[in-house]
């Protein structure tokens, strides 16, 4: 009995233990060496990540509310890895901050919420996990208490996320009304596509659309990303978005798969709009964080293409792309975070002549941007390739036809995105100014995180085992 609670909820227990260790440290003596404290926390996060690989078991708990299997264990490991990388990258920003422990307690609470959300097998559990993962994020967005933009970002985040969860809940209440159950399996057996259920799906999709910032609901994204501290921005754009995409995929295929004909066109239109509008707005951005925000919106458009595909190939390609997206986006955010923490510069013009004094950092940023743009030797190309293969190939929903329209739109968008990614690279390598950014003295933790990101970008694409492994888990 107790064995079940310990083994199936292993990754959740690990995060809870780390949170409690940090809480007790907070209660203890006041003065502490911040650098060694940060290293200690990184070691704790590494132990958390390593424990995810050791052992897992399939099964369910709490009357089938919570379930666990090897695919979920893999997804949780991806999120823990991303959290560790972000923690290492924010070393220089946190070193001078007064409230390190509070930052990590809030951050790990959101991670715990995401784990529960991923493992949920019931809409109540899903909602609880979702709220646990969004409410502390708003507090985190306000973490630079004295900055005006930070509190503005937090206000926009909490109001829009509360509104979106209201929409989501309205959808859930109508699903409950029409089926009388909240369990995923029972829901999927009873959903037939009546008008009430379609309306509830629209509400559901709108709520999710807010959280993953798909296009009609994307307006909060840029402001929140620009205003928040860089560590929180990268957490929002990679970990939080990745977790919600994992859940969206599993809910769509598990719960709504009998209504596939109803949602195929909806997701298709949203994905085309998201790609195109995200790209067009990214063209004219001057602030690096805002630029990465819009680029992440257009990446979500590509991910939505994969979701329209067949269930196994669709979810495998989405999970694979999120894994790559963790490495490439965190590589880019890591450099932006380091530059912002040490020099306070955040606009594209500040990056002119960056190569002159910071050779390694500019290569890290360039490789990450190449991967985001999808240029062949990097992993981003393979990620987008599998997404397109899953989405535009012969699927049941598209009537057994290859969707050429989708391929053309996606190709055009790749070209547009290449323009603005290369604009940053040109500014770094070819433009020159009188006062380029001086040599940045990075320390051990950020350097290690860059090595992990670059290795991830170069290896996960070429090693075909990664995709095969995910595909075998999905099946």
């Amino acid at each position: 009995m107790w064995n079940d609670y310990l083994q199936l909820m292993k990754s959740e227990w690990m995060v809870i233990i780390v949170i409690f260790i940090l809480l007790f440290l907070k209660l203890g003596k006041k003065e502490r060496n911040t650098e060694s404290l940060l290293h200690f926390i990184n070691v704790l996060l590494f132990i958390n990540l390593a424990s995810g690989f050791i052992y897992h078991r399939d099964g369910s708990l709490f009357g089938d509310m919570f379930h666990s299997n090897s695919l979920l264990a893999f997804e949780k490991n991806v999120l823990s890895l991303g959290t560790l990388i972000i923690s290492m990258q924010s070393f220089h920003w946190l070193k001078n901050h007064k409230h390190i422990l509070e930052f990590y307690i809030l951050l790990l609470s959101t991670l715990l919420g995401m784990f529960f959300m991923l493992s949920s097998n019931n809409l109540l559990m899903f909602y609880l996990g979702l709220e646990l993962s969004t409410i502390p994020l708003a507090a985190l967005a306000n973490f630079d208490l004295e900055k005006r933009v930070s509190s503005e970002a937090a206000m926009k985040l909490i109001l829009s996320s509360a509104f979106s969860s209201g929409l989501l809940l309205f959808g859930i209440s109508m699903l409950y009304g029409s089926t009388g159950t909240l369990n995923y399996l029972e829901l999927s057996q009873q959903l037939t596509g009546t008008p009430l259920q379609i309306l509830s799906f629209v509400m559901f999709a709108a709520g999710f659309g807010f959280k993953i910032s798909a296009v009609p609901f994307h307006l909060w994204t840029a402001d929140v990303y620009e205003g928040s501290p860089v560590a929180v921005t990268s957490y929002l754009s990679v970990i939080s978005k990745g977790a919600i995409l994992f859940v969206f995929v599993s809910v769509l295929y598990q719960v709504f798969h009998h209504m596939a004909l109803a949602w195929y066109n909806l997701i298709f239109i949203i994905s085309v709009l998201t790609m195109t509008i995200g790209n067009l707005f990214a063209l004219r951005q001057q602030n690096m964080k805002r630029f990465l925000a819009f680029s992440s919106i257009s990446q979500v458009g590509f991910i939505l293409i994969g979701i329209t595909g067949q269930s196994a190939a669709g979810s495998a390609s989405v999970i694979y792309f999120v894994l790559i997206y963790v490495f490439s986006n965190l590589g880019a955010f890591g450099v932006v975070s380091l530059v912002s923490a040490l020099t306070g510069k955040e606009t594209v013009n500040d990056y002119k002549g960056f190569y002159k004094n910071n050779r390694v950092l500019s290569w890290v940023l360039a490789i990450s941007l190449f991967s985001l743009a999808g240029i062949p030797p990097t992993a981003g190309f393979f990620g987008k390739f599998f997404l397109l293969l899953a989405g535009a190939g012969t699927t049941h929903q598209s009537g057994g036809q290859i969707n050429y329209l989708l391929i053309v739109i996606a190709a055009l968008n790749m070209v547009i995105s290449l323009y603005y990614y290369l604009r940053i690279i040109r500014a770094m390598f070819m433009d020159s100014t009188e006062q380029p950014i001086e040599k940045i003295k990075s320390s051990f933790s950020p350097n290690l995180s860059f090595i992990i990101c670059i290795a991830g970008i170069l290896i996960t694409g070429i090693a075909s085992g990664a995709y095969n492994y995910i595909y075998s888990l999905v099946k």
Binding site: L124, Y127, L128, E131, I135, A138, A139, N142, L145, E146, K147, R148, V149, S151, E152, A153, A154, M155, K156, I158, L159, A162, F163, G166, L167, L169, F170, I172, S173, M174, Y176, G177, G180, T181, L182, A222, D223, E226, G227, R284, R290
Partner: protein
């Protein structure tokens, strides 16, 4: 049970939902926007209780969900008001139009 048909109560909850949505889009005061969100959440609560009472009287899922929504709405309001207070300190205003440091 006897007397009020389910459609009347569903009408109230739907009206409440759209009043909340209208308030969210038209009001410019942050506290009022928060109140509009509470209206939306309460309309969901009414929905759950009504569906549980009229359509699925043998189950308890809807009632439990309502209790959790009430609790989480309180937590959400607490965080939101803390953020709004902090914003008031720097902006000296709780009008969303004044919180426009970042644009385009």
């Amino acid at each position: 049970m006897n007397g009020i048909p389910i459609s009347h109560i569903l009408f109230v909850s739907t009206a409440l939902f759209f009043i909340g949505m209208y308030g969210m889009f038209t009001r410019r005061n942050m506290i009022t926007m928060l109140m509009a969100i509470e209206l939306i959440l309460n309309s969901v609560n009414i929905n759950f209780v009504v569906f549980n009472k009229y359509l699925w009287p043998g189950k308890m899922d809807g009632i439990f969900f309502t209790i959790f929504i009430i609790t989480i709405a309180a937590a959400e309001a607490a965080v939101a008001i803390a953020i709004i207070i902090n914003l008031y300190r720097s902006h000296k205003s709780i009008d969303v139009e004044d919180a426009a440091e970042m644009k385009y």
